[in-house]
């Protein structure tokens, strides 16, 4: 199998055959990858050079922690991605960014209201956790459709804070949904679960 692995701006052509030989940009390497803890820690020997790395898979990207770096790797596999996207579409998912609480904490302040036009990086909510205030920022440009966070309330990791429509087209249907105590269920139908494909696993 041939893959294109993009690390930062650099593309590597990686060919993995059944025997485990790995050819990178035309150069063959003896590679041995072993899991250590069964989840994220790996020992990797490339041509007798020993490395140890933490790897995290999130939203289709691989994040490799190595020597004080976090390297984001996008492994291109166009056909597989197309098929996964197709199966998601069938499952009826829609686009749009849902901002979840990245940690449990206390909502100190809500900075946006439904209908507000936001840009990527704009502050949405101030969350206090571990005694520090953290500003939760918008992941994309768009219009705030729903604000479920309320100042003074506690939230858990993964709770929906704000839902943002990707474009400004949806301005018309903003007002009605601005309920105060919205929780995860409310957003369940509209958010894009990163591992949405798994939902189709058991027929």
């Amino acid at each position: 199998m041939k893959y294109t692995a993009t690390v930062e701006d650099r593309d590597f052509e990686v060919d993995i055959d059944r025997s485990g030989e790995v050819v990178v940009d035309g150069v063959a390497h003896a590679v041995d990858l072993r899991p250590i803890d069964g989840t994220s820690l790996f020992s990797l020997i490339i041509d007798n050079e020993s490395h140890e790395l933490l790897v995290e898979r999130r939203e289709g990207m691989y994040y490799v922690y190595l020597a004080g770096n976090r390297l984001a790797v996008d492994v291109g596999d166009a056909r597989l991605k197309a098929l996964i996207a197709m199966s998601r579409k069938k499952a009826g998912e829609t686009s749009g960014a849902t901002v979840f609480a990245p940690m449990p904490g206390l909502v100190v302040k809500v900075l946006v209201e439904p209908g507000a036009v936001v840009s990527e990086g704009d502050g949405l909510v101030i969350l206090e956790a571990m005694k520090m205030e953290n500003e939760i920022r918008s992941p994309s440009d768009g219009v705030v459709r729903l604000v479920s966070a309320t100042a003074g309330s506690a939230v858990n990791i993964g709770d929906v804070l704000v839902i943002i429509d990707a474009s400004t087209d949806g301005l018309g249907d903003v007002a009605v949904e601005g309920s105060a105590d919205g929780s995860a269920q409310e957003a369940g139908g509209t958010s894009t679960a990163p591992n949405g494909s798994a939902g189709k696993a058991s027929p």
Binding site: A67, N69, L80, M132, A201
Partner: protein, 497 residues
Amino acid sequence: MKVLIANRGEIAVRIIRACRELGHDSVAVYSDVDRTALHVRHADEAYRIGPPPASESYLRVDRILEAARASGADAIHPGYGFLAENAAFAREVADAGLIFVGPPADAIRDMGDKIRARRSMIAAGVPVVPGTDSETRMSDPELVASAAEVGYPLLVKASAGGGGKGMRRVNSYEELPGAIAAARREAMNSFSDDTLYIERLIEGARHVEIQVLADAHGNVIHLGERECSLQRRHQKVLEECPSPAVTPELRATMGAAAVEAARAVGYVSAGTVEFLLDANGTDFYFLEMNTRLQVEHPVTELVTGVDLVKQMLRIAGGRKLRITQDDIEWNGHAIECRINAEDPFNDFMPSTGRVTSLLEPSGPGVRVDSALYEGYEVSLYYDPLVAKLCVLGESRPDAILRMRRALDEYRIAGIKTTIPLHQRLMNLTQFISAAYDTSYLETHFSMDSSTDDDLHRIAAIAASMLAHQHRGDVINRLAPSGPSEWKRFGQRQGMRT
């Protein structure tokens, strides 16, 4: 002696270790999330004191005193944070007929109120940063008016503050109202007291602090300085002993000032006098005194060979200091890296979760003070500091090389930690040449990825191999039984299905 430790995490473990070595019995207290924490497992006895929030457990004076009574403890060590600098707690402990392993309540009060501390330091002839010294609580308009006299840039600080809470840098008049409001809110939340004062910001200053030890018989000595200039959001990130900016002469001068500061408030036990050292490395100013054991106390222990926690326990037992100023020698160089459960690649967001894998560095010159074990759950209720990695080297370069090696050995999986930050720092020219001040991390440092092609290739290989495995898994999972588009797709691609 039986000692109750009114704390949790790595510092509770540290104190229990000292107790055990001295032959004292140790008593742990714990909240519901800490039932299986290391301090509970290491202690001789353990008492539940409430639900996870600190306000309902580790800050509950009544429950801690109840645990002390139930266990028959003779003394209470508060560690750092929580009740460590709470004068009322120290008084209640004494009133209950127990020994408080720390300074007298009055010394905590005098130093804890930062405005009062400034005034008593001025009286004792210890230099302080120019700022406001009003005896009464200043209103917003009064603060704004005095800011003009102090001059910009300046710091708005909480009188009850510490650890950067309730503190804001203000560059101009326009920023002042917002900073005062934010500082008041944070101070009220953290300390239930929103009294503020203003200090001039000393640009390019280093944070250098002096460790002192005082017994109840009037003997006060200093154990030299710690360099704590690498900070983020006013939280220390890394500490060293000795400071690369301090000469033996300056050490003697600052040490003498610290001893005067301690004497001025009748200090007893281990304490730390924090100073700002100006960019020239000549003038220094009293910042505050921390009337407790410091997080970074191990670097002083490594270089001086003095066990500060044991000294605290001896002093609390009423004994005289056996060591004199002349006995204190500084050998080698120590560095401490604070390992926080935070994601350095995502604006240091707190990270929670289960530690799935843990391998701590060891070998020559390495010391780990940690609350972690495999299976330990990092919760959001407490401070993000989960471990401290310290090394001792013959010289500063030797210590840096040793710290690099130790960080490379350190594996914590399941949570994000600041280990990568420290790996970067150990390779940074500015750190190696000691050319940094307290603003360095926030103004000149980034966690941008390396451009090293070899590292990129390794990452590409690892990710491709995992993607290859994952692809097999996905195809298997998506494929319904029987012949299908998925299965044919898999077969065409030569996957092992």
